[in-house]
Amino acid sequence: MSPRPKRLRKISNPPIISGFKPYGKKKTDINTESVFLHYEEYEALRLCDYEMLNHHKASVIMDVSRPTLTRIYARARQKIAEALVKGSQIIIEGGKIYFDSEWFSCKNCGCFFNNPDKQVVIKECPLCKSNNFSSYEQNTFETEESMIRCNDICVCPACGHEQPHQFGRPCNDEICPKCSKGMVRKGTPHSRSRNRRGY
């Protein structure tokens, strides 16, 4: 079996440098191997140790689970410790990442724009210079759309009462108004087998 693909980690800004070099070598035969610190490990280190966030908050920002964030962070510290002890240079590159920024929508001219630099706070719309804008959430729009798309029906296995399925709510949580039993999705093998048993 192939392993589950890695989730893409969200990075706000790339580091301003691409690595570190050691200086003042005492011996000439010190290994010249370098340590490759991934972008996601740099980001985890930045969030946890520079911005002093806890692992849960950092994991939400990077869009991964909390245990994954802790693993990334542990690997980052392990790599940096190795570089310090062995005196090897650190190169920041690679990793399963994508760069993302916040999006805003302007109510005056109807445009959407993003904030590429997290350090700078946006005060005005870049197009019409008005300050009548708000942050734009793409997710709310998507869930509304899929709610309309769902045409399924919940059916009561006991009396056969039907009602439209509510998006995001398991049918089993829905209670039949007539016989107060948990409902099932209409047309699924589950509901058919229940009917056959004489419910």
Binding site: F99, C111, F113, N114, N115, C128
Partner: protein, 105 residues
């Protein structure tokens, strides 16, 4: 500050192109010097990779903002790492002259 605008033609009356990678022309507008430069897009009929190639072309002119109708999935992460701001304007009727007027306000 330099702003790139995607355009369908090479005049001020032409409208905003709704695509970024395969737009007709790029207009590089300098908000301080009020100067403008029209660049025909060499990637207009490219099979693939039009977006990243266009980003390279625009980034070589040191722009800080790009105004277009839509940005592809490959471009967003690229522009974020280059710290170029994207402005999405879903109005195909708007002419380049009107957009420049807005920027000068």
């Amino acid at each position: 500050m330099k702003v790139a605008i995607t355009s369908t033609g090479n005049s001020l009356d032409s409208t905003l192109d709704q695509r970024f990678g395969r737009c007709g022309f790029f207009i590089i507008y300098d908000t301080d010097a009020k100067g403008m430069e029209f660049i025909p897009n060499p990637n207009k009929d490219a099979q693939e990779g039009a977006g990243p190639a266009s980003v390279q072309l625009v980034a070589s002119r040191n722009v800080q903002k790009i105004i277009s109708g839509e940005f592809g999935i490959k471009i967003k992460s690229l522009l974020d790492s280059l710290k170029i701001q994207m402005v999405v304007l879903k109005e195909p009727e708007k002419t380049i002259g009107e957009i420049i007027e807005l920027l000068n306000k």
